[in-house]
Amino acid sequence: MFTMPQKKGVKSSLKSASGKEGTLKGKDDNSIKSKKGRKVQFDTGAGEAHLNFSSKSGGKGDTPTTFPKAGGGQAGKGDKTFSSGKSSVPKTPQPLELRIENGLCQLPTIYVELPENVKCLMACEAVDILQVIQEQMVLLSKDPTIKASLAFDRGLQYAKRGSHYTNPQSVRKVLETLTKYGVTDGEMCIIADVCPETADEVFALVPSLKAKLTLLVWEMRIWTVPVVKTCMDDSHLHPFEICTTFSCHLSCAAGTEGAM
C-alpha cells in the first residue's frame, strides 16, 4: 500500500517535537537514506502535483518561473508512481534544495482537479458561513421539508472543532502578508488551521514552503531586514523563519484579539 517517508527518532506526540536542529538533521538523514534506496517516490510525485497547483491557483505571489522543470507534471502521474510502489530514486545527484523541493507534500492535488473559481476556507471562516446558514434554517424550520443534512451538521461540528480563532478577517489579513512571498491560498489556510507555535512546525507540516524558502530567500531578505532589525535581534534565525515566526506571532495575536 502506501509507503511513508521514514524518519528516525520521531515521536508521535505533538508536544515532544524535536527542536530546530533536530528537525533539520532529520531532513538531512532523509536525503542520505534516499540515496541508499529508501522509498521516497511518494514525495516526488507530490512535488509534481504541487507545480500544477502553483500554476492553477493563480496566487498573486506565484512566479511562473518558480518550477519550470516539472511544469507539465500531472497529479495522476504522481499517484500512479506512488501506488506502484517501485520507487526509483532519481539517479542524477541533485543539490539539497532540490531534494527538499521534491519532498513537497501532496497538498495541491485537489487544485488540479478543481475549477478556478474555488476559494480555500479556513475552518474559522467555514464556521462563520455555516453558522449564518444554521440561523437561517432555524427561521425556516417551520417548513418541515427543509432540514439540515447530516453532512451539514457534521461539517459545522468539524469546522467548530478545528477553528482556533474568533476573528477570521484579522487572521486572513495577517496571513495575506505571506502571499507576496508565494505562499498560496491553500497553504495559508493550512497554516491557519494548524495554528502553529513555531516556524519549525510550519515547515514540517507545510513542506511546500521549503521550496519557496530557497527560491524566494533573496526577496525575503529585502523584506525581512527591517523586521530583523525591529522585531527580532537574533541573527541565527533564517530570514524566512523570522518572517514566518513573525506572522505566526501576529496570527496568534489576532486570534487573541478576536477572542476578546
Partner: protein, 159 residues
C-alpha cells in the same frame, strides 16, 4: 479542507412547481438534491450559500418537465493528500504502528513503550493524509502520525 466553490447543475422541475414561487421551488429542490452529496471531484457538499444564476428553462420533449441550469455557490469539504487534519478517534483496531503496542480490553488503545503517548477512542490526533479513495457517497483516507509535529493533541485519559 473547506472550500467555497461555484457549481452548476441542471434542475428538472415538474410543471406543478411553476408559478409565483418558481425560484423558491428550484432552490429548495436544489438544496434537497445537492446538500450532503459527495463527489470525488468536489468532495462533500456541506451547504449551499447562494444562487448565482438561474438560466432559462428548456422544455423536455415529450414531457412537461423543464430543465433549468442553476449556478450556485456552496461550501464543500474535501480531504486531499498531504493535508494536515485534526481528527477524533472513533474506533481503535489492530493496525499497529511500529513504535506502539496495542492494548486490548474495555478501552482498546495504543500505547508507546514508555507509556507517554496513548491513543484511544475520543483522542484528538493531528495527522497527515497520505492517500484517499473516493466512493460514490464517501471519501476514505489513510493518514499517518509518523512525522514531526503529528500525533495526539488531546488525550481524554489525561484530562
Amino acid at each position: 479542507m473547506f472550500f467555497h466553490i461555484v457549481l452548476e447543475r441542471n434542475m428538472q422541475l415538474h410543471p406543478r412547481h411553476f408559478g409565483r414561487s418558481l425560484r423558491e421551488n428550484i432552490v429548495s429542490k436544489l438544496m434537497k438534491d445537492v446538500e450532503g452529496t459527495c463527489s470525488g471531484r468536489h468532495g462533500f457538499v456541506v451547504a449551499i450559500t447562494g444562487i448565482e444564476n438561474i438560466g432559462k428553462g428548456l422544455i423536455r420533449d415529450g414531457t412537461g418537465f423543464v430543465t433549468f441550469p442553476v449556478k450556485y455557490q456552496c461550501v464543500v469539504f474535501r480531504p486531499f493528500k498531504g493535508e494536515i487534519l485534526e481528527a477524533v478517534v472513533t474506533m481503535v483496531n489492530k493496525l499497529i504502528p511500529d513504535d506502539m503496542e496495542f492494548q486490548s480490553g474495555d478501552m482498546p488503545n495504543y500505547t508507546t513503550s514508555d507509556g507517554s503517548v496513548k491513543i484511544q477512542k475520543d483522542s484528538e490526533v493531528r495527522l497527515k493524509i497520505i492517500g484517499t479513495r473516493v466512493d460514490a457517497t464517501e471519501i476514505f483516507c489513510i493518514g499517518t502520525i509518523k512525522d514531526d509535529f503529528l500525533g495526539v493533541i488531546n488525550d481524554p485519559a489525561a484530562a
